[in-house]
């Protein structure tokens, strides 16, 4: 949990992913299309990946990946991200982190 907290405070937009997960790839592509560069953490390439996975599940995620954090707060997985975006609420959230 500490590692998760530490990682999500490192950068504005943090996405936990697995290198084999194509849905994670889709979410990362979306964020890039929206003009931001998320910090992607591939937990299957992290020796502490198991603990991170458990921590993410404890935070309430159905699937551990993709897990999107903005400004240190858990936004959710693919469903939540897509809903937010179609509601028009995602872009304002990303505004502070857009590269000029």
């Amino acid at each position: 949990m500490d590692k998760v907290t530490r990682l999500v405070s490192e950068k504005g937009i943090v996405i936990f992913s697995k290198s084999s997960c194509c849905m994670c790839y889709a979410v990362i592509i979306l964020f890039k299309e929206l003009g931001v560069k998320p910090l992607v953490h591939e937990i299957d390439e992290d020796p502490e990946g198991r603990e991170i996975e458990k921590a993410l599940m404890r935070l309430g995620c159905n699937a551990p990946v993709p897990a999107v954090f903005i400004g240190g707060t858990l936004v959710g997985s693919t469903n939540e991200v897509m809903s937010l975006h179609l509601k028009g609420s995602l872009t304002p959230l990303l505004q502070p982190y857009k590269s000029p």
Binding site: C22, M23, A26, L30, N79, L86
Partner: protein
């Protein structure tokens, strides 16, 4: 010499024009022509049959031990011929037995297929998977989850047609907003019900959903991850919604852009899935005559496809939901009518196409 047996298989008359003999010869031709495997080791040698065969061929080839002068030569030849006949008869019996067993298996399979066809005719048109069905051990069983979906979808379309009529009548009759609201709510829930049904069907057979086989042919042309493209949905609704306020127009534009971005991202994920699946399958090797042991990672990828189908439907659902937020009730009613009629026209087009004349012009 021979005991006439009631059983077809064990009948032992060995005359030249014996129908069973003929059949076994035919069976041999049948076998060599169709490349069926005859089970190699299942026939146990029957000694009793062998001796009868010897008697039979003895009868055919004539008594050969009557001429003592040329005792050695003709006896040798005769012995050899006897042995050859025995061998030929034995082989013939084996072939016949194998052939009859194949017939029995085929007969059973035919009965089963006819039964399934009957079931499918009553319940819908889905019989598990085309080529998948022609596989030993996989008799192409009907997938109950999909059969259920087919029936439910048929009912769904009927209800949809009724709702479209209601909307049309209501808009023409200039009913109150209150009455319209009820109709719009019904329509909205009806669409959401379809998404629930599709979610269940995707769990049963995701390829059935992505193939679009549950839709009519012309609709299938536009299939994008198991349904209509969300942005296309909005495009169809659009013209029907005018006049719109500037605020509304702007919101619809933003929504449509968001849809396109979401679609693009999802599609790239799908392409990656295809690519990695292809790589996984290409790297598979035969292990002891089977690819199956190496297929675990490939199976995981196929399961990921279910997520993509669900996500695509989620985007469709959310796009509709957002439109309901942006529009007034009357606009929503007009939009739903337009959407419903759009699908109706495609279904009509598919029907027309299916019944078109195949005569050359």
């Amino acid at each position: 010499m021979n005991s006439p047996s009631a059983q077809f298989v064990t009948s032992r008359r060995m005359g030249v024009y014996d129908p069973i003999h003929q059949m076994s010869m035919w069976g041999e031709n049948f076998k060599s022509n169709s490349n069926l495997n005859s089970p190699a080791s299942l026939i146990v040698e029957d000694v009793k049959l062998d001796s009868q065969s010897e008697d039979a061929s003895h009868g055919i080839s004539g008594p050969s031990n009557q001429y003592d002068q040329e005792a050695t030569k003709p006896v040798d030849k005769a012995q050899r011929r006897l042995a050859q006949n025995r061998e030929a008869a034995r082989k013939s019996r084996l072939r016949k037995k194998a052939y009859v067993q194949q017939l029995e298996t085929s007969r059973l399979k035919l009965i089963q297929l006819e039964h399934e066809l009957e079931c499918a005719r009553h319940q819908g048109s889905y019989i598990g998977g085309g080529l998948d069905a022609i596989h030993p051990g996989f008799p192409g069983a009907v997938n109950p989850g999909i059969t259920t979906f087919e029936i439910e979808y048929g009912n769904w379309v009927e209800e949809q047609n009724r709702q479209i009529c209601d909307l049309r009548n209501a808009l023409n009759a200039h009913v109150t907003d209150m009455e319209l609201r009820m109709l719009v709510e019904n329509c909205r829930n009806h669409y959401f019900e379809l998404f629930r049904m599709k979610e269940t069907a995707a769990k049963a057979d995701v390829f059935y959903v992505t193939s679009g086989m549950w839709k009519t042919s012309a609709e299938r042309f536009f299939s994008w991850i198991g349904g209509i493209r969300p942005s296309e949905l909005l495009k169809v609704l659009g013209p029907q919604l005018n006049p719109m306020t500037e605020q509304q127009s702007a919101k619809v534009v933003v929504l449509r852009d968001a849809c396109l971005q979401a679609e693009d991202a999802l599609w790239q994920g799908m392409e990656r899935l295809q690519q990695t699946l292809a790589e996984t399958v290409a790297a598979s090797q035969l292990i002891e005559g089977s690819y199956i042991p190496q297929m675990a990672p490939a199976m995981k990828k196929l399961e990921a496809l279910v997520e993509f189908v669900n996500e695509a439907d989620h985007i469709r659902e959310e796009a509709l939901e957002q439109m309901f937020h942006i529009l007034t009730i009357r606009q929503a009613a007009r939009g739903l009518l337009a959407l419903g009629e759009y699908f109706q026209r495609f279904r009509a087009l598919s029907k027309l196409w299916a019944t078109r004349s195949h005569e050359p012009a």
